[in-house]
């Protein structure tokens, strides 16, 4: 019998390979050369310092939203609200960036913490409603996404600016960008945030696996009755789990606000960072190291795909379908799990 751990590693890898194969057939079907296509994709991820910098830049918020979803998952909760938590965190970071004048070593931490706190607050509300009223967190977090989207737009337009569509750019004292990084990656928007994301992954791993707090939250996620029997405060733990999850997503917002863009503009729709976070968490089997790897894959595909139309002539639409196929196979990993089980049974007869 295959061990569980092997299984958790094998399934995502097979999913990705199957997705790539399906994509290859699709390209052949439409008369494109899949080797050229995937060559262009790889080139678009690793090809030069610029694209690699952009890939890492894209990976940064995905790690954080992936952690947010994975953390909630591990405690028995489904956080669909990372999307909204990102916006709120983004807004908070930019707001603090613009409102305060301070040296970088105070200004940056302050803005980053503000983003985490704002995201945490956006997680607190569904957590509170779930713990005290039994309202399902999926419904509340989806609603909270819309509230976040429109209220951030309103704040940008009527509070932070005078009916403009974008805030001012944050001062250097709070920017996560650094000249030497920009120069090294020949003008990419890569910033220090990647270190924050990796550190957050370490935090998630430690909290979930090594602390009494994580033990309680996991226990409550699995069995509330037994947790109460063991003297844990079930309500507190549900709320806490949503708060921590929200904080991770809020940090992803800070990456956009303080790193990639340096401002926040009104949005016509969702950024998809939060929704991609669900796929990242799923592919990463809800573990911190898994999330990092999965975020690299997703970020890579996103940035690499930009090169496919230019270098291999594969049209944009087809590229989107190929990416979607890979995600589809990942999401369908339960099916792949089932097939593997089936085969390992047959093999034994």
């Amino acid at each position: 019998m295959m061990s569980n751990r092997m299984f958790n590693i094998l399934v995502p890898i097979i999913s990705v390979i199957l997705g790539l194969i399906a994509g290859a057939f699709l390209m052949i079907g439409f008369g494109y050369n899949p080797i050229e296509g995937y060559g262009a994709l790889l080139n678009g991820i690793f090809g030069d310092a610029y694209v690699f910098g952009e890939t890492l830049r894209q990976v940064t918020p995905l790690i954080l939203t992936g952690l947010a979803v994975a953390f909630a998952f591990r405690t028995g909760l489904f956080n669909i609200g990372a999307e909204g938590q990102v916006f709120i965190g983004w807004l908070a970071a930019v707001w603090v960036g613009l409102a305060i004048d301070a040296p970088a070593f105070i200004h940056i931490p302050l803005a980053v913490i503000a983003a985490a706190v704002a995201g945490a607050l956006w997680g607190f509300i569904p957590g509170l409603l779930k713990a005290t009223r039994g309202v399902h967190e999926v419904i509340v977090t989806i609603m909270m996404n819309y509230i976040a989207l429109y209220s951030t737009n309103a704040v940008i337009r009527y509070v932070l600016t005078d009916s403009r569509d974008s805030t001012d750019t944050i001062p250097d004292s709070v920017s996560l960008r650094a000249d030497w990084i920009t120069t090294m990656t020949t003008g990419s928007r890569l910033h220090y945030g990647i270190l924050i994301a990796l550190f957050a992954a370490l935090v998630m791993w430690v909290v979930i696996n090594r602390t009494t707090m994580g033990y309680e939250m996991r226990s409550v996620g699995f069995n509330q009755h037994a947790s109460r029997y063991a003297g844990m405060n079930v309500k507190k733990n549900i709320i806490l789990a949503m708060v921590i999850s929200g904080a991770f997503a809020g940090l992803a917002g800070a990456m956009e606000g303080l790193g990639t863009f340096g401002y926040m503009s009104t949005q016509s729709g969702f950024s998809n960072l939060g929704f991609d976070g669900i796929a990242v968490a799923l592919l990463g089997a809800n573990t911190a190291p898994g999330v990092i790897l999965a975020a690299f894959l997703f970020g890579g595909l996103k940035i690499g795909a930009l090169s496919m139309p230019l270098q291999a002539g594969v049209p944009n639409e087809l590229v989107d379908i190929i990416i979607a196929l890979i995600i589809f196979f990942v999401a369908a990993s339960y099916m792949i799990r089932w097939v593997i089980l089936r085969f390992s049974k047959e093999g034994r007869k």
């Binding site: 009494t212 037994a226 029997y229």
Partner: protein
Amino acid sequence: MDYVIEMLNIRKEFPGVVANDDITIQLKKGEIHALLGENGAGKSTLMNVLFGLYQPEQGEIRVKGEKANINGPNDANRLGIGMVHQHFMLVDTFSVTQNIILGSEPTSKGHINLRKAEKEIQELSDRYGLAVDPRAKIRDISVGMQQRVEILKTLYRGADVLILDEPTAVLTPQEIDELGDILKSLIAEGKSIILITHKLKEIMNMCDRCTVIRRGKGIGTVNVPDTTVDELASLMVGREVSFTTEKKPAEPKETVLEVKNLVVQDSRKVDMVKGLDLDIRAGEIVGIAGVDGNGQSELIEAITGLTKAQSGSIKLTGKDITNLSPRKVTESGIGHIPQDRHKFGLVLDFSVGENIALQTYYQNPNSKYGMLNFKNIYKKAGELVEQYDVRTSGLHATAGSMSGGNQQKAIIAREVDRSPNLLIAAQPTRGLDVGAIEFIHQKLIEERDKGKAVLLVSFELDEILDVSDRIVVMFDGKIVASRKPEETDENELGLLMAGSSSEKVGDTQ
């Protein structure tokens, strides 16, 4: 000889354990065949193999003489094999009918025909005397009824061979008698039955033959009329087992638990404990006898802080603990072996080690400054598993992968090891084999001899009579009588439990 089912030389491994090693069992048509073995011997595993849930590494299964390939429950159903699992698999919020048809819904033009199903189920229920209401919701019916629903489910799918995995462990004595009648009527209709049970008396009363397995190996099959309880026990355990527990007379000291005028409601806001008084002293075991549903669960939940008491007071060694949180209650010196091990006792997805730390994970040496110390947690778990003979495939395996009896032993190890001033044991030996029961009873008596107070709740009068120093009978939310075990017997207790006024049988309280 025509056998309906033959399992020949079956072998099944899990990572780290051989659960079945060369086991053979042959079921004759129209017999009730017992499957006996210690906790973790591999009984459930063997039956899961027959039901197609596991694939054996070796061996052959024959159904009515023909070699069969059983790849899943659907194959098993097709071959006329039905199974009632040790832990039920019902959807709480569905009705009886919905649960029974789940997975094989009768449809007409794409719609589920619930009426038709209800009628069929009613007919089946009447035919075998099951008295099940097809429209009742699962969460509103008793455990005994839920079990009958599971039986109906197999019959509805056309089972000729029924596998019952420890059906009596969750039943009250009356319900067990009723189950016996149901099994007889099933046999009369031409069914054959494999029955797993740890209760040797039941085997003697109900079964025709008995196959014994020990630590995964087949020991043999005996004809029940040709054997005795003692022989069965020693076949199973591999040594002599004593059935009555040796103990010195109790030396009760100061009062440990003092319950006064306690009123507790259940989740429907109905009074279940109605002004109850109870004292337990250090160095004595008090057994509560009573029919299930007379307020025992609510009493325990109130003492342990899981439910709020409406009124009255609970004192532990003189300190008021009424309506404290479960954590505070535990820390003030109470241990609790809960009646429902899957609901309260364990986090099934946690490892064995993490479960053993469930009450102490936040304390030194299991953790420090909020950081868990897994080295200490697993070291302690290893010691307890050894000491209480809990059989697992490893401390890192999930609690859910342990056999039912070993799950129970793990809980007992956790609670008894803390050596609390008051140990509350609700049905502590449910689902345990005779050897393990002997061991657990000794442990309870050891705690008593250390000067701790023990509160035992059991639906088995044997156990109550055997282990208690003082027996109180609970009826309709109150203690209605108090007896010394040597001055009473099953008959008198039975009468008192049924609510016959205690003056008639002479009250001593």
